[in-house]
């Protein structure tokens, strides 16, 4: 520590050097901590926070596949015209089958994500939250819409706009579930990372 010629600067440096490392709180803080230790641990929510990313990855993958599928057929009309009617019919049946499989896989993954989100401890508290009613209503409507779009897609799996709408509805459902979980967390300590 270099001492300055200014006596006030010197005094300040001495005060900094002698500042105690520890200060005692006026009251016992342990009891308050111990009570709150019984609440569900934050780290149990961490995987849930990662789930929307997985959902987004699925949505991106599905969008890319759909774009490739529709783009291929759109950009190669000559190929379709040059092929025989049987080949076209056979090709279309194969494509539709692949899309049906993709549809089922995405629906299954989405159901798993929803199940995982609704099984977290936070949702137990969420049920009692007075802020949750609009979210619950929104979830019900989104699920109904998602089911109708899913049925329409099963009948017509090559409808690009229906696909986009279905993926959007699924993502919104996951977003709403995430928001509903945030409602339940008291004294949130998120946002801190080491």
């Amino acid at each position: 520590m270099s001492l300055s010629s200014d006596p006030r600067e010197t005094t300040l440096q001495l005060l900094i050097a002698n500042a105690p490392k520890e200060l005692a709180p006026e009251q016992d803080l342990w009891q308050g901590i111990e009570k709150r230790m019984d609440k569900p641990l934050q780290f149990t929510f961490a995987p849930a926070q990662a789930r929307p990313k997985q959902g987004a990855q699925w949505a991106i993958a599905a969008t890319v596949l759909l774009a490739m599928f529709f783009g291929f057929n759109h950009l190669n009309p000559e190929k379709a015209l040059l092929s025989g009617p049987e080949q076209i019919a056979s090709q279309q049946t194969g494509d539709e089958h692949a899309l049906q499989t993709l549809l089922s896989q995405i629906a299954q993954t989405h159901q798993t994500q929803v199940a995982n989100l609704t099984q977290t401890p936070a949702t137990v508290v969420w049920q009692t939250s007075r802020f949750s009613a609009p979210l619950e209503q929104g979830l019900v409507e989104l699920r109904q819409a998602g089911e109708q779009i899913f049925q329409a897609l099963q009948a017509n799996p090559t409808d690009k706009q229906l696909w986009q709408l279905w993926l959007w509805v699924q993502q919104r459902e996951l977003d709403l579930l995430q928001q509903s979980q945030k409602l339940s967390i008291q004294n949130s300590t998120q946002g801190n990372s080491i």
């Binding site: 105690p20 490392k21 342990w30 230790m37 801190n192």
Partner: protein, 177 residues
């Protein structure tokens, strides 16, 4: 949880206590709390400037430690990890407080209401009288040894602003002496 009730050996190292606490042993965690809570409180008080808030930050900090302990892999010392966590927690707490009060007081003012507790002595008595931003920068730089680049990153301000606030704090403190 039976692991939470196991008695502790007096000769246990901090590493052992951290390991036990991360497995849910409350006695080990309490021991860690008793060892470190005064340091956490001192840092919290100096950063936020109010005893009641510092107590709240200290509690939040240890609850967060309890929750995050399973993620602590021992790559740094526990005290270093705790210190970083405490700084983040204190700054986060203060941001939340500020954003809440900002709804009612649109004009941001530097004239905060520091703790009027006369129990503190020496530097702490003076620090509590500093404006908030100057106090935070001064505490992190002069007492905790952070570089201005680190402070700027933590607070989301320019390095130059950090230096300005530091010199402002020093000037104010010297005037108080």
């Amino acid at each position: 949880m039976t692991a939470g009730r196991l008695p502790l050996d007096d000769a246990m190292s901090e590493f052992d206590l951290v390991t036990l606490a991360s497995q849910g042993n409350r006695a080990a965690f309490k021991q860690l709390y008793l060892t470190h809570h005064k340091k956490v409180y001192a840092l919290s008080l100096r950063l936020c400037g109010q005893a009641s808030q510092a107590e709240e930050i200290t509690q939040e900090c240890f609850i967060l430690v309890w929750q995050k302990l399973p993620q602590f892999k021992g790559e740094s010392q526990f005290s270093t990890w705790l210190h970083t966590l405490c700084v983040n927690q204190a700054l986060s707490f203060m941001r939340k407080q500020k954003s809440f009060w900002a709804r009612f007081i649109p004009m941001e003012s530097d004239a905060e209401h520091p703790s009027s507790d006369e129990n503190y002595q020496g530097l702490d008595k003076l620090i509590l009288k500093l404006p908030e931003r100057a106090r935070i920068v001064f505490v992190l730089c002069a007492i905790e040894g952070y570089q201005h680049e680190e402070i700027a990153q933590l607070l989301g301000i320019a390095v130059g602003t950090s230096k300005t606030q530091y010199h402002r704090a020093k000037q104010l403190l010297q005037e108080m002496l």
